[in-house]
């Protein structure tokens, strides 16, 4: 059930310039899935709307959620000032998340670009967890390629714990010079299924790449949102098929997504 609840900041630190890593204590962690997001409310009353932020890690046992976000404006700027013990309001859990069953027995590739890296961490962790109890034929091979601007490769060590990681950086300071697509070519990476989150040009390239290979790609989309729960119809994406809500080929990213099979959406 979706709720707006009070959460307590457990810890927060800046892990790269303007990139913040915050753990929140909340019971929403019990229902959270990789690829879902929460709405985080600024306290400043001039900024009213919840900020959609992807879930980076889930610890049900500790009732904790980790979010890693970039300062993008006034709201996230305020979040970056929060300290351990602060009580804050969040809305969640929101969105559909990634379907882990689509990975069973497959060679999977997780692709994250910039602030699209964080949701890939919980996905990698849960796929690895799924592997521990699975039969040999159901185990998946977890590879990932993460793209950064420069040597500020936040979450690199975390991703390496659960996947074979290939890095790309725009300035060439780490890994392949270029983007995640360049990293695939340079390292001759192959996959049966792709999971991705990142900027729109990257997602477009992945959609084209997956279509060419004839493999599924589950991509997580972003759009300006107001309600986060499917009521306001602010955050829509054009779809190939008629959507079930308005019957006009417009899916709601906040509730029908944010994860879509790339072939379903016109991006």
């Amino acid at each position: 059930m979706k709720q707006k609840v009070m959460a307590k900041v457990i810890s927060q630190k800046e892990i790269a310039p303007s990139i913040f890593d915050m753990w929140l204590e909340t019971d929403l962690a019990k229902e959270a899935k990789p690829g879902q997001f929460i709405g985080v409310f600024p306290k400043d009353k001039s900024t009213l709307l919840p900020r959609p932020i992807s879930i980076c890690e889930i610890r049900e046992d500790r009732s904790a959620l980790r979010i890693v976000y970039r300062i993008a404006g006034k709201g996230t700027g305020e979040f970056s000032t929060w300290c351990a013990g602060d009580e804050v309001f969040i809305l969640g859990t929101l969105g559909n998340g990634y379907d882990l069953s689509t990975a069973a027995g497959k060679k999977v590739l997780l692709m994250g670009g910039g602030i699209g890296v964080p949701p890939m961490l919980e996905l990698a962790r849960e796929l690895a967890l799924q592997n521990t109890g699975a039969t040999e034929s159901d185990k998946c091979v977890i590879q990932s390629t993460m793209g950064y601007r420069d040597a500020q490769t936040f979450l690199k060590e975390d991703m390496e714990k659960y996947s074979t990681l290939y890095i790309a950086s725009e300035d060439g300071s780490v890994g392949t010079k270029g983007n995640v697509m360049d990293a695939i070519r340079e390292n001759s990476i192959t996959a049966d299924v792709i999971y991705a989150c990142g900027p729109m040009p990257m997602l477009r390239a992945i959609k084209a790449y997956a279509a060419e290979l004839g493999i599924p790609a589950y991509i997580s989309l972003e759009e300006h949102m107001a309600c986060g729960v499917g009521a306001c119809l602010g955050c829509v994406v054009k779809t190939k098929n008629v959507d079930h809500h308005s019957h006009v080929n417009n899916a709601r990213i906040c509730t029908d997504g944010p994860v879509f099979e790339a072939g379903e959406v016109e991006i």
């Binding site: 009521a231 308005s246 006009v248 417009n250």
Partner: protein, 327 residues
């Protein structure tokens, strides 16, 4: 609610020297618009609450005076390109463009959903031509569960129709009188604040036979992203809502209440019970909560509780005592 009001409630109980459950201490929250009685004056603003399905997860829809649905047209409308929403200081802009599934799906899915609840249904009707509106109004005519029709002649985000009927008094008069010929339920014209004199529009609607008025719709605004040097909203302009517009809405509700005899459903930036009470005092018979649903999904029921607390605190027996009571 504030501690003040909690104290107030205690005070009332002591004064009356009766247990809280005594009916005499419970104020009468019922209100009437165009002959339709609502159990309380708290409703939802069209377009912010869908048909209740999404927020039904947060609030008990049975507690609301009415659900005012998202605008519905004769056929599905795809709405505007994205981005459709942007935050502004103390509020937000939207240019959804009335995306809706059309009256067929609405009748099959949304009306049966709402019928499960003990709340009144007010359907917001939109169109691009007078005939579009007539088509929807006629389809809804035999649906007894629909208590009232709110006619959207004030959406600032669609290029044709809609607002064109709401910004010229003669056009508003014409569509109102035309719809009165076809509507079986009472009609409530939703007025635009984007006019020079809102009382002129209110008088035109009243003269044409409107049964009620709702106001205000959003105020046309604009936001520019200075880093990208682009409009924040694809439609360039959007309708502003949120707490920042409340003083404008209060002023307009007051002016309209002075100008016409029609009952008013007031809205515009209502965030708290205190805001709602301002609207009653200005002349609204009921209120709608809009953008604040996005900020606080429990806003409607919290506002309802707060209105009750206020009435107990000030020993107001019936909501009617508050309506238009500003001096």
């Amino acid at each position: 609610m504030s501690g003040q009001m909690e104290n107030g409630q205690m005070k009332v109980d002591q004064e009356k020297n009766t247990p809280k459950a005594d009916d005499r201490t419970m104020p009468d929250l019922r209100t009437t618009i165009a002959g339709v009685e609502f159990k309380n004056p708290v409703m939802t603003a069209s377009g912010t609450f869908g048909s209740g399905m999404e927020y039904g997860e947060f609030v008990d829809l049975n507690l609301l005076g009415a659900v005012v649905t998202k605008g519905v047209a004769n056929v599905p409308w795809p709405g505007n390109p994205t981005p459709r929403v942007a935050e502004v200081y103390g509020g937000m802009l939207n240019a959804i463009g009335l995306q809706n599934p059309g009256i067929d799906v609405f009748m099959e899915r949304d009306i049966p959903f709402l019928k499960q609840y003990d709340t009144k249904i007010i359907v917001n009707v939109c169109g691009k031509s007078v005939q579009d509106y007539i088509d929807v109004v006629e389809r809804l005519g035999d649906e007894k569960a629909v208590a009232l029709l709110e006619i959207n002649v004030s959406c600032p985000n669609v290029k044709e129709g809609a607002i064109a009927f709401g910004q010229k008094a003669d056009a508003l008069y014409n569509i109102t009188s035309e719809l009165k010929k076809h509507a079986k339920q009472p009609i409530m014209m939703k007025l635009s604040p984007n006019v020079t004199d809102i009382t002129e529009m209110a008088r035109a609607a009243e003269a044409a036979g409107a049964d009620a008025l709702s106001l205000i719709n959003t105020i046309t605004g604009m936001k520019i992203d200075i880093h990208r040097r682009k409009f924040a909203i694809a439609n360039k302009t959007g309708g502003m809502s949120g707490p920042a517009i409340k003083p404008i809405a209060i002023r307009m509700v007051y002016q309209v209440a002075q100008a016409v005899k029609l009952p008013i459903l007031g809205m515009g930036g209502i965030a708290t019970a205190e805001d709602a009470i301002e609207f009653f005092l200005a002349g609204a018979s009921a209120i709608s909560v809009g953008a604040m649903n996005f900020v606080n999904p429990y806003a409607t029921v919290e506002i309802l509780d707060g209105i009750r607390d206020y009435m107990i605190h000030y020993n107001v027996r019936s909501l009617a005592e508050l309506i238009g009571a500003v001096q």
